[in-house]
Symmetry: C2
Subunit: 530 residues, 2 copies
């Protein structure tokens, strides 16, 4: 449950250290990884055997957790109704594209002006291969997936304090880091410094491994030449015909490499959440919502703002307001699956026991901010030869993610110009949306000078101003999880919670899906036993 | 110009060692990488300024080299004709799909029986991001590209002599290798074994880097726990709700890892040719040919078997046979760009100087074999959770490549069941096509036991039996290149050669394209000066 910044220290030490050395954005990125780094325990489609006895279930929230519950419960014979605050299903599985509007807390309303086919996903944007539940539903519901380009060797790694702020290519940093690691460990093996740990026979194997992996020369050194340039790239790239012979490039020195600290951008791509193969839905994450909508959209009542959740011996009564008409209404059912995000739920009148009530208040939500920027052309492809992937930086934007679709398209292109959080997230969220866009543009232009000439328009979502969540996703501390997690997941009378907050991977749709499956499985056992 | 098997020894030593330790297929894979590991020197669309004076050019071969020459020369005002042996353009940029037939040398004719949408590319199948020329033409000619999944952490690495022949997950081997490398190097730094090489300050940075990158614990050890499982994966994957807590997995021991030699499968993916982002055309490599065909297909005369190429002071005369009618014919032009593969060209009557004649005979061609297998379902996705990517093995099939498209499709699926060469390539090519398929099925079933139950049909191309190449691609030795390469590329009177064989990346389309651009640029300079 760590990423590239995660070190073998206490979590607090770790975060303090990252905060000191890499800025608030890096701290956020490290924090957001706690609790969201694992794979699903989804074991295949569930089957709720046995008679539901005509039981009714009211589901609150039509995000992926609520829609999963609606789909599986209705299949099992339950009578299901879903109440949803927004005028669309999907919740945070959301895509902003041209013509969409979004009004945030405080009243600022943005009209997304992207050209046809361009979009950003303000919420979840990636689907690792091991998110078995989500991938199952994508396949079942006809949601086409395409690879998300998590790693691109030709993208940049950037630090304001290294190389005079000039961005470096990922391949240079990775190849040189691996090369020197290989060279140094070879030296230690060859000088018998590890002879108490590695047998002579294993040492020979290790040398062979390091030589091939690190791109070392015949003397086990990482030096300028064909072997190292076959990792990091060439000064003059080869070609065909005469004068086509390549010219190798100069590796960085070990000192320059280490002191740049740019090696911090490598490890995160080796973690469970970021392993290849990793997907995105073709056309944006809203396609997941549209898939569920095709299956169970008829069960959803949109524009329904829940104001109270009351249970008694006979059932659950949910009071809500029709946000279009202002009319007040009630819905009743035998049971309630509540997927409302905790910062909202904590404000709703609800008669549950003290354990669940305390758990609902125990989980702070992340301050994530995303900024989408549209440019006149895909200069990152045309000029920089970056096709998808992510540039990482210690600037407050934290990263720039290039689109993993429509490679080579000639019209305007949209990139994710910021995905940040922590204190930077708060600072940006406090600004008007246009100012967030302006700052992302200013910061990003330090990496891509083409920004200012090519800029067309932008859109920004600061999640603490999203009225129906008030934050991006639940961030469990280890202490809070030990004290409150099981209480949050336990059935409280006729009410059960589900959502990414009720899972071991906050911030991922797979958490919502597996928590919903776990909750309805237990609910069904209860119904059968009643 | 090496891959994961390339070691800092002489090339001959290296190949001998690989042959001894890893079998003929591994030797082939290493050999085929010499000379094909670099990027393009394509600098953007060429512009041949100046009056071509109505000069005529005859181009032999409608592969990507010939079609590039046809496209750019006709744009520059030359009168161009292309003669092509096959009944289609594209040459080795070729896709086999359902309904296609292929007759190999010896007369065996295969009818490909794949279901609609399934295919294999018998020749080139990947387009690295730095193949700037090919990517330029794909964009210009409307050939859509999608990511090729070169690396999949959940694919297998397999050795018949390790783990009782049971395939291992790529992520286990990579994570454990990186973890132990990090632990061992940390130990060497901490015991001052490297104090003459690494300063104290840099040593501290190195330790920080190794800790994060290797997934080490607080004692700088790679041990079972959340940190290592966040790299290699979990024994029990986490989920949502109750009982969702993950259980870490056990790393291999260092001894088991090293002695398995499975680390050999990691390094190759770090090389220039295999870096992310790497593409394939949507719908198969033939889409590249179709793109060129839309632009200059009207200049191509198909079914034309060249029998003689003669030049004199006035021009070039090419004799050819219409393979449909048997009619003999001649074509004349001021100049000839000849892209015919060298094993064929060496058999054609041609009056060129001794240097070029010797060069044409200096380059052996690879013995590559590919086998495509169709199965009733995508069991590798459904059962093994492998979405795209490559399983490597020391079996004669060398690798299994899973389709990088239509992820999650429910119907029959086609995978590349063998891509091998060297002596294994010869052995397989000597067999009837059906026997090659049967053997690939037998070998592959050691990795995927589902093979036999799910098999539908297969197709196989042994390139030494492809009548119009007699091999897959040119394999320059360093000695041959020093002696003959420039002679091969130099203009010989009115004749210039182009093709992947006239480049520094044999076996890649980018070699054909850049060699064509180099050749026609020099030809144009000659015409302007004439």
């Amino acid at each position: 449950m760590t990423d590239n910044n995660a070190l073998p220290m206490s979590k607090r030490d770790l975060l303090a250290m990252i905060g000191k050395t890499a800025g608030a954005s890096a701290m956020y990125m490290a924090m957001s990884s706690f609790g969201q780094a694992q794979a699903s325990n989804f074991k295949g489609p569930i089957k709720l055997d046995g008679d539901a006895k005509g039981a009714t279930v009211l589901i609150l929230g039509a995000g992926v957790a609520g829609m999963t519950a609606a789909l599986e419960l209705s299949k099992a014979g339950y009578k299901v109704q879903v109440l949803e605050y927004n005028d669309r299903v999907g919740g945070r599985s959301w895509t902003l594209k041209g013509g969409d509007t979004f009004t945030e807390l405080g009243g600022a309303k943005q009209l997304c002006q992207f050209s046809a086919g361009n979009y950003i996903n303000p919420g979840p944007w990636r689907i690792p291969w091991h998110h078995h539940g989500l991938i199952h539903y994508c396949h079942e519901l006809g949601v086409a997936l395409e690879p998300f380009m998590q790693v691109n060797y030709n993208a940049y790694v950037h630090s304001t304090t290294a190389f005079g702020g000039k961005p470096q290519r990922y391949r240079h940093i990775q190849a040189d880091f691996y090369g020197y690691v290989g060279e140094l460990l070879s030296k230690a093996v060859n000088t018998s410094a590890l002879s108490d740990t590695v047998t002579k026979e294993d040492g020979e194997l290790l040398l062979e491994a390091l030589r091939g992996w690190g791109g070392l020369d015949k003397n086990m050194r990482y030096v300028k030449g064909q072997t190292s340039s076959n990792r990091r790239g060439w000064d003059k790239e080869p070609g065909g015909g005469l004068s086509a012979e390549p010219i190798p490039s100069d590796p960085l020195t070990l000192e320059t490499l280490l002191q740049s600290k740019l090696w911090r951008s490598i490890g995160g791509n080796l973690t469970w959440d970021h392993e290849f193969t990793i997907f995105q839905p073709v056309g944006g994450m809203e396609q997941v919502a549209k898939g569920f909508e095709r299956a169970v959209g008829h069960l959803v009542k949109l524009n329904s703002k829940v104001t109270a959740i009351q249970q008694d011996a006979k059932g659950v009564t949910v009071s809500y307001v029709d946000t279009k008409s202002g009319a007040k209404a009630q819905a009743k059912a035998d049971y309630c699956i509540c997927t409302i995000p905790l910062p909202i739920l904590a404000q709703i009148d609800m008669n549950v026991g003290p354990d669940l009530a305390a758990a609902i208040r125990a989980v702070p939500y992340s301050t994530s901010v995303k900024v989408g920027l549209e440019f006149k052309r895909r200069f990152w492809e045309q000029d920089d030869k970056i096709y998808g992937g992510i540039t990482s930086t210690d600037l407050p934007i934290s990263q720039i993610s290039y689109p993993s679709s429509n490679y080579g398209a000639k019209g305007p292109g949209v990139l994710l110009g910021a995905y940040t959080g922590g204190s930077t997230g708060f600072e940006l969220t406090a600004l008007p949306p246009a100012e967030r866009v302006a700052r992302a543009l200013e910061w990003g232009s330090q990496i891509h000078p083409q920004y200012k000439e090519e800029f067309m328009n932008g859109v920004s979502v600061g999640w603490h101003r999203v009225p129906w969540v008030l934050g991006c996703f639940g961030q469990w501390s280890e202490e809070a999880r030990a004290q409150h997690y099981k209480n949050l997941c336990q059935r409280d009378g006729r009410i059960m919670l589900a959502g990414e907050h009720a899972s071991y991977y906050g911030g991922w749709q797979e958490g919502g899906i597996t928590s919903a499956i776990d909750a309805i499985t237990r609910l069904h056992q209860h119904v059968l036993a009643s």
